[in-house]
Amino acid sequence: MPEDTVALPSVEDALALGLTAAEYELVCEKQGRAPNVLELAMYSLLWSEHCAYKHSKKLLRTLPTEGPHVVMGPGENAGAVDVGGGLVCAFKVESHNHPSAVEPFQGAATGVGGILRDIFAIGARPIAVLDSLRFGEPSTARSRYLLDGAVRGIGHYGNSIGVPTVGGELYFEGPYEHNCLVNAMALGLAPADRLVRSAATGMGNVLVLFGASTGRDGIGGASVLASAELGADEDKRPTVQVGDPFEEKKLMECSLELLERGLLVSLQDLGAAGLTSSACEMASKGEMGIDIELAQVPLREPDMQPFEIMVSESQERMLCVVTPANVGAVLELCKKWEVTGTAIGAVTDTGQIRVFTGGELVGDMPVRALVDECPLYDLKPERPSQPIYPPAAAVLSGEESPTETLLALLASPNIASRRPVFEQYDAIVQSRTVRRPEQADAAVLALPDGGALAVSIDCNGRRVAADPYLGTIEATLECASNLACVGAEPLGTTNNLNFGNPEKPHIAWQLTEAVRGLAEACLALGAPIVGGNVSLYNEGAASGPIYPTPVIGMVGRIPALALCGRLGFVNEGDEIALAGACSSSLLASELAKLRGEILPDALAQFDLQAICATQRAVAQAVAAGRLQSAHDIAEGGLAVAVAECCLAGGLGASVTLEESGDPTTALFGEAPGRFLLSGATAQMELLAQEIPLERIGTVGSERVLLTAGQARLDCTLAELARAHGSLGALLP
């Protein structure tokens, strides 16, 4: 190493960068000396929670990751499943929570940009985006501001780059007030033989950086942002990363064409921790070393320090490994797409990552130490003895009539139509979208072989808060139910674990229980985990932790596109049936929230295997064209599901529940694995031989009539539509 004239950073600097004193000691040990500024910055990022999964890696190892359809499991930029016809579907969900809390438009936009890069980094062309959003109650101006900004940001990026946003979810709950969640999922398609990994191999091969130039964006972002609780202290505002979808569009086309022409050895996007993380992870996976010459990196601002260049999170950049013979052709193709490409380094056999500026060595670290030897921590889970979350303010007293209750539920921000949001997204570009939002429970995307993909993203954080284990199973089941409603059986699952501070025992307990539930549900469904993301420390300084929110994304296949399901009623006179065995409960339901009830400390038990069997039967019935409509019964229970099927089909219905129990529970109670189906009587009779199924009414007329014991509910479609349209007021 050159005799550094500047003072070496101290242990205090390490602490400020988010490392512990013990971790700093370990860095010194790995280096055999005290690290310099550049090295410490790189260690602090790669050893951050965000990059090293210090508190979650051991848990993640318990997830099932293998199955007959899995082509690429966790560990690469995205996972992938075989979808037949020689194609694979790559998909992944990722969070951009903290950047979105600071600047919702750019935070959400760059979140979409980031997840898209993960998809095309493995050689798949992105074909769809889904967004998963959570804010505080919409009564606060801040929540509305964050909602508006995030939705605009997602639309701005997805619309401009030409990838349809085909689905998503949106919740408003107090615990997200100071720490909103903005997760984005993307899917891509690739010929099975074109998938590329990120391992840097081949001594002497060249490292080419291409895409946007490097500026001071998000410096310190990954470690500082992802591991410190957001305080009221506004001075800590980092430099906001600004997204450029136009640049990314060119980058995407360029990357895909480079792969199609077979010009690359490996490819990797630059995300959190920028060049540091990309280069080190490529070297680690290939068990090689890498030399980087910073003087070659195109800069947006002059006079950037070496450490700034190495940790910059400037968006829209990719790194690839190329054989020397192909460098010319690669740079030529970059030119065609008006993308700046530069050779910045080489693959070595040293096992070291060495950083040079103008030939002078300014950093030298063992790749293994940086990437694989960050200490992992055990969680100390402890079930809380006290309720963690206060109840929401009551908006219903419990004295309302069934009709008033239904209208209040339909108008509640968690249930009202998401149209004002999804109308800001292009859902149809690429001409694959067979089911758009509100046409079915899952989005349906046509495949060239006459089949289709179904995709859904889901998680009811309030139910997970009540019972992290069962709540996570429910979230996973709900994804599978959504797929079943369009006729699909699941192929694989992705997840984003959004939790509070895992060093706190009750958060550690939530996380542990949730992962246990996720593993169990994925096994039961035969839908292994192919990838995901973890976002911890989601807490507001005053407001406490968010609801534990394991966002689940699931992809399935439909055999024949033409038979995919829809949720709206289709024909007057069709029979309506309720499928599924679980008896519903008001515990942790949307109605309980509207009534201001405190969360229970457990959810009702259910039979996981029986639910999976019901889902399979429904999926098969839909895929065989035996049903006219199918809708899973979720927030707001049966009554809300009936209303949604009526609104989507523009038809009324009359439904009578024979069940003797409490009518309010029958109408508005919630439970996993229940479906509202419509179709011909003969089909219902047939299906009733396979699964628990109760025929409860008929489609028809202008009115919606529901009877449960003594309770009677009666309203017009127009009244339902008015209540259901209440979200428009939040996004004028």
């Binding site: 780059i161 109308e423 997204y425």
Partner: protein, 224 residues
């Protein structure tokens, strides 16, 4: 009959347009940096965000080398269809009157819209004759059609207003509900809604196919 579909950096709907055109004829993509139209009988300037739509939608794309050839082709009477961003490009290139401004609702909006055919005799709607209305998706943030009052009067008089939003469907605030216009000689046509996304029942509607069908009839009619 062969369509040439332009491709700019930032085009998004060019493959959709290509596939739609292929339902009625041959079609190939034409790269923005080349001047050769490769013998195309009709040109489609597709939707998307050419050059990110930075500055003004379509403002930069209209200077692409391929546009020089398209302008010459149009001036020779060749049929040119501009969809969404392509419509904006054709206005910026002065091949069509008027301009497109940010939506009155100030948001990107995606909605299936109903359109009235204001000029059923035009080269781009002849195959839709008799249709009461067309159902075609629109999706844009810069779709508010504007031209000066006297220009609008003149356009209405001469049949240059080809498509209008039906009542309740003009979310972008276009003057006189204008959704699509043609030039004075009737060979250049631009519209904000996306006919290439309405060519298959599976994805919603087939009304857009009639626009491509009309272009084929026009080209073949001229040849006969």
């Amino acid at each position: 009959m062969k369509f040439g579909v332009l491709q700019f950096p930032g085009s998004c709907d060019e493959v959709d347009a290509l596939q739609a055109a292929r339902r009625v004829g041959d079609a190939e993509l034409l790269w923005h940096g080349e001047r050769d139209l490769r013998g195309a009988d009709a040109i489609v300037v597709p939707g998307g965000f050419s050059y990110g739509d930075y500055l003004r939608a379509g403002a930069i794309a209209r200077f692409a080398p391929v546009m020089e050839s398209v302008i010459a082709f149009a001036n020779d009477g060749g049929p040119v269809l501009g969809i969404c961003n392509g419509f904006q490009v054709l206005c910026e290139a002065r091949l069509l009157p008027g301009a497109l401004l940010p939506n009155a609702n100030l948001r990107f909006t995606f909605r299936q819209v109903k359109l009235e055919i204001a000029n059923p005799d035009c080269a781009f709607t002849s195959a839709a004759a008799g249709a009461a209305s067309l159902s075609i998706p629109a999706k844009h943030s810069w779709g508010r059609y504007y031209a000066e009052e006297h220009t609008l009067d003149e356009m209405e008089r001469t049949g240059q207003v080809v498509l209008r939003y039906l009542p309740g469907h003009n979310f972008n605030g276009s003057l006189r509900d204008i959704a699509g216009v043609q030039n004075a000689t009737g060979n250049v046509f631009g519209l904000m809604p996306h006919p290439e996304h309405a060519v298959d029942e599976m994805t919603g509607s087939t009304d857009g196919l009639r626009i491509f069908e009309s272009m084929r009839l026009t080209v073949e009619g001229a040849r006969a």
